[in-house]
């Protein structure tokens, strides 16, 4: 068994027990990246020198008997929309940031460092986190490690693929409409979106401010819990960061949640759901029943089509505002063929942004513009409240909600790029959790006949990540899909 087959928890244990050095762990991951990433293209930037230096420092401190933190020497990847001041670029997979180097670290990056993690590189994403396939990256698409002609999902496709291909055991992603959960499902790993406000957004390049959250990827639920533990908590630099204490997620992980009432929304099993995905998810629900849980059919009347419509107004409106700053004036890319100031803005942004980003900026600008604000933006916010109420009502009846994370398994590269709307519908089961600010996780629950991973989504109410993880762990104990590695990760070292 290769070092890279160890989970983060196993690696941590080995490092703390001095059976494994941080340096060895880092080297193993860097070698895996070197071997596999030409095919997977999960990374936009790899920092071997930084990583080895950090690892050596951790080993030194361990030898001196110091406490090095929760993530003791574990190699970690960070989605490239989080600022790192370590010399690596922060590109958001866009050309518009040019060669910009962030002069500050994101809060979560500071947390990783404080807890002894070794950041090995920055991962690929859809440009500015806008997309569901990572095909919108200005630097090329990432491949699904299970099938290289298919997408890994998005927008955190790079982080999901890096973990699935066992290049790193854990990685950070961001989720605005499903951008952690959906790629986790498509890549057969665990991916979680915490409650809005659980993890600081300071240093996360904003896409949609009221929806964005940073969350963990891991091959196991425990690994995701470990990474969440290290990064969650209040940050005074983020006014939307909630000052609630962080529970010990790992301590309670093995306690099943029983009795357990599971809400199964009929809207999540309607038209558009791939039959094989539906089957795998129902099999997973049957496992919960065997464990003593009760399935209850519920209705979330505003959670699918209306949620997508709401999301594509709210998120694009906020995005059009958040991306207004990219203008070639103070940092980033500036055109060289402009004639005057306004032309400079127009050309820099036209040349620097990809099509999907342009579409969303224009949609958002339109929705906020004079004469349309009430019909679009204000209306969408009212529907957002209806969506929230759906969940509030549901959680009075059930402890959690389950369904498929994605309506289909990984689709082929290029399959949906010509029709933006068809791409948007990939998020149909995930966007409502972002709009309602609640927590959600995707865990692997099997494969299709073609060998493509399928994900089960579990959603719980606000600030209940501990219960969410325990519920996820209940299934994982019965069916540990994480043991299976994609063929390319098993290739001879």
């Amino acid at each position: 068994m290769a070092l890279t087959d160890l989970t983060a928890c196993e690696m941590r244990q080995a490092v703390l027990e001095r059976r494994l050095s941080a340096r060895e762990a880092a080297d193993a991951c860097l070698a895996a990246i070197h071997r596999l990433d030409t095919k997977v293209k999960a990374f936009l930037s790899v920092a071997p020198e930084n990583a080895r230096r950090r690892a050596a420092e951790i080993d030194r401190r361990l030898a001196a008997g110091e406490n090095v933190g929760l993530l003791a020497g574990i190699p970690v990847a960070v989605k490239d929309n989080m600022c790192t001041a370590d010399g690596q670029p922060t590109t958001c997979a866009s050309r518009i940031l040019g060669n910009w180097r962030a002069p500050y670290d994101a809060h979560v990056v500071q947390r990783l460092t404080a807890e002894g993690a070794v950041i090995v590189g920055k991962t690929n994403l859809d440009e500015f986190a806008m997309g569901s396939s990572t095909e919108n990256s200005a630097y090329g698409a990432t491949r699904n490690p299970w099938a290289l002609d298919r997408v890994p999902g998005g927008s955190s496709g790079g982080s999901a693929a890096a973990v699935a291909a066992r290049m790193v055991p854990i990685a950070l992603g961001s989720d605005t409409g499903g951008s952690i959960r959906q790629p986790a499902a498509l890549c057969g790993v665990v991916g979680m979106k915490p409650t809005y406000g659980r993890v600081s957004r300071y240093g996360l390049v904003a896409f949609a401010s009221s929806l964005d959250q940073i969350g963990p990827f891991g091959r196991t639920v425990a690994d995701a819990a470990l990474l969440l533990q290290a990064t969650a908590g209040h940050d005074p630099r983020d006014s939307t960061s909630v000052p609630k204490p962080v529970p010990d997620y790992l301590a309670s992980l093995e306690d099943p949640v029983l009795p357990l009432k599971i809400g199964v929304p009929r809207e999540f099993f309607g038209e558009g759901l791939d039959p094989e995905v539906g089957k795998r998810v129902r099999e997973a629900l049957a496992v919960y029943e065997r464990l003593g849980a009760r399935l209850v059919e519920i209705a979330l009347p505003h959670s699918t089509d209306y949620a997508i419509a709401t999301y594509y107004i709210v998120a694009t409106s906020e995005a059009s505002s958040n991306l207004a700053r990219y203008d070639g004036v103070h940092y980033g890319y500036r055109s060289s063929d402009h004639t005057d100031m306004i032309d400079m803005y127009m050309r820099s942004r036209a040349q620097g942004f990809g099509d999907e980003v342009k579409r969303r900026i224009m949609l958002g600008t339109y929705a906020l513009s004079s004469g349309y604000y009430d019909a679009y933006y204000k209306k969408a916010l009212a529907v957002r409240r209806l969506i929230r109420r759906d969940f509030e009502q549901a959680f009075q009846e059930v402890d959690c909600i389950m369904g498929p994370t994605s309506p289909t398994p990984a689709f082929c590269m290029g399959e949906r790029t010509a029709d933006p709307l068809s791409m948007y519908l990939s998020d149909v089961y995930t966007v409502s959790a972002n709009l309602a600010a609640i927590a959600g996780i995707s865990i692997p629950c099997g494969f299709t006949a073609a060998g493509l991973p399928v994900g089960l989504q579990i959603i719980t109410d606000v600030f209940s990540e501990d219960r969410l993880l325990r519920i996820a762990r209940m299934y994982e104990r019965e069916a540990d899909w994480a043991q299976q590695a994609p063929p390319l990760a098993k290739e001879a070292v």
Binding site: Y202, S209, P236, V329, I342, L368
Partner: protein, 490 residues
């Protein structure tokens, strides 16, 4: 159309920098005249990934000013984003308050040459300032940007269109400034850009068939750097609107032409068009998702209300009524809160408002002006001054000696009592001693005495001066005067 029926209708938008140490949404210092781009951080530079956090002190100062303007503080106020693209606005949006500001419906009372007037205040709200865009002198065909000012807390005060003349506009702005300084809310130095005043001017035309008032188009004037410019610009605009209206009464209306923005050229004394109605910005306001609302609790608002000191106008009237001070003196003493506080402390201790006032105006403020210092920097506290005034009142020393002792107190830090004792300055009121001195003086100045008896009244003063001098300044002037008068027979 009679010119008299065209009533100038003016509303003013005033922006003032709040007196905080740091910016509105980040911990960079607010400083003036420092190296360009030296008080900046990722947040105020609008870098990717940054987030704003509200400055507590800015909110307190804003609410204090709103309360002083008699505004209602709502139960809920929120932040909004106001979008426009400009190189001095790094995020290309300004965080401001759009439809739910932190103060509304107040007023400011001002004194004009036509008597007192009450100007309504529509709203008071907080926002962040932008940076500075300048033309690069002699450095080619480009402009330069300094972002030090970006993020400075700005209080915007919008008045009702209750102002009806250029003078009133100026007085309104000056009174607002005085109030802000008085409250410690802002220094409002227009030359440093700490206060900006933008009048919105139109003329009210006679009412239409339904009795609703009609207006000429509104012009908003920007780039006014002094109170005098405000007055001049408003005068200019009133005249310009009048001219335009009289040339084309049919079309020169608010309905047809809306609002325009004009710049002011102070050296020429003229305004010029910058932006017409058609080019008006679509700011695409929406609630700021990175900031949470401000929900002031009623107890806190009441506590804030208590921190609003007695306002200058009210205090001035009280000084006249209660202390019997003349208008001029009351005005001088209430212009600054710290001076007024000092005065009241002294007056209370000596129990003599007039004496306290004289000493403040003649001695204390003279030294302040000479040394160009604030009263808080004066090495003298009210009890010390009160002691000195009491010594003079009770005749221990005379007024002239008192002035000398005052200077010595400032120089040495010793108390009045100490100095008088150490230097043996106690004045003498001994009649026989003084009479002896007066006799000597009269003998030595017989001719002057003759002049006085001959009708030259001014000669008395000279003889007084000689007598005081002969006594080494220590004789009680009242006694000298009485004796001298007696000796001169009249």
């Amino acid at each position: 159309m009679s010119a008299a029926r065209l009533l100038p209708t003016i509303g003013l938008e005033v922006h003032m920098h709040l007196k905080t140490r740091t910016k509105m949404f980040c911990a960079c210092k607010v400083e003036y005249d420092v190296r360009p781009n030296s008080n900046v951080c990722p947040v105020c530079l609008g870098m990717p990934g940054v987030l704003p956090v509200m400055n507590r002190k800015a909110v307190e100062l804003a609410v204090r000013m709103a309360l002083a303007l008699d505004c209602t503080i709502p139960d809920f106020a929120k932040w909004d984003r106001k979008h426009y693209y400009y190189p001095d606005l790094p995020k290309n949006y300004q965080i401001s308050e759009y439809d739910q500001p932190l103060g509304a419906k107040g007023h400011l009372d001002v004194e004009t040459s036509n008597g007192p007037r009450r100007i309504g205040i529509i709203r008071v709200h907080l926002e962040e300032d932008a940076g500075k865009l300048m033309h690069a002198e002699g450095r080619g065909n480009y402009s330069v940007v300094d972002l030090n000012r970006t993020g400075t807390p700005l209080l915007e005060i919008v008045s009702e269109p209750d102002v009806h003349s250029a003078e009133e506009a100026r007085v309104y702005a000056e009174t607002l400034r005085q109030l802000a300084v008085y409250l410690g809310v802002g220094d409002c130095n227009m030359q440093l850009g700490q206060m900006r005043c933008e009048p919105n001017i139109s003329l009210r035309i006679a009412a239409d068939a339904q009795g609703r008032p009609q207006y000429t188009p509104i012009s908003e004037i920007k780039n006014l750097n002094s109170f005098r410019s405000v007055e001049r610009a408003v005068d200019f605009e009133i005249a310009r609107h009048r001219e335009e209206y009289e040339a084309d009464p049919e079309n020169y209306t608010l309905e047809k032409q809306g609002k325009s923005t004009r710049g002011w050229r102070d050296d020429e004394g003229t305004s010029f068009l910058q932006r017409s109605k058609e080019e008006a910005h679509d700011y695409r306001y929406f609630p700021e998702p990175d900031l949470v609302p401000f929900v002031p609790n009623r107890q806190w608002v009441d506590d804030m209300r208590k921190t609003v000191p007695e306002l200058p106008e009210k205090r001035r009237r009280r000084f006249i009524a209660d202390y019997g001070l003349p208008e001029y003196d009351a005005g001088v003493l209430t212009a600054e809160r710290t001076v007024a506080d000092f005065y009241e402390a002294v007056a209370g201790l000596v129990n003599d408002a007039k004496a306290a006032s004289n000493w403040m105006m003649q001695d204390v403020m003279r030294v302040m002006n000479e040394r160009k210092i604030a009263i808080t920097e004066l090495p003298l506290r009210p009890p010390s001054l009160a002691e000195l005034i009491t010594l003079v009142k009770h005749g221990a020393i005379n007024r002239n000696t008192g002035a000398e002792v005052f200077n010595k107190m400032l120089a040495t830090g010793k108390s009045a009592g100490q100095i008088v004792q150490e230097e043996g300055l106690v004045q003498t009121s001994d009649e026989s001693e003084i009479e002896a001195i007066v006799d000597k003086v009269l003998a030595a100045n017989a001719r002057i005495a003759e002049d006085y008896r001959g009708g030259k009244k001014a000669a008395f003063g000279r003889l007084m001066g000689e007598s005081m001098k002969a006594s080494g300044g220590k004789a009680n002037p009242q006694v000298v005067k009485a004796i001298l008068t007696r000796k001169l027979g009249g």
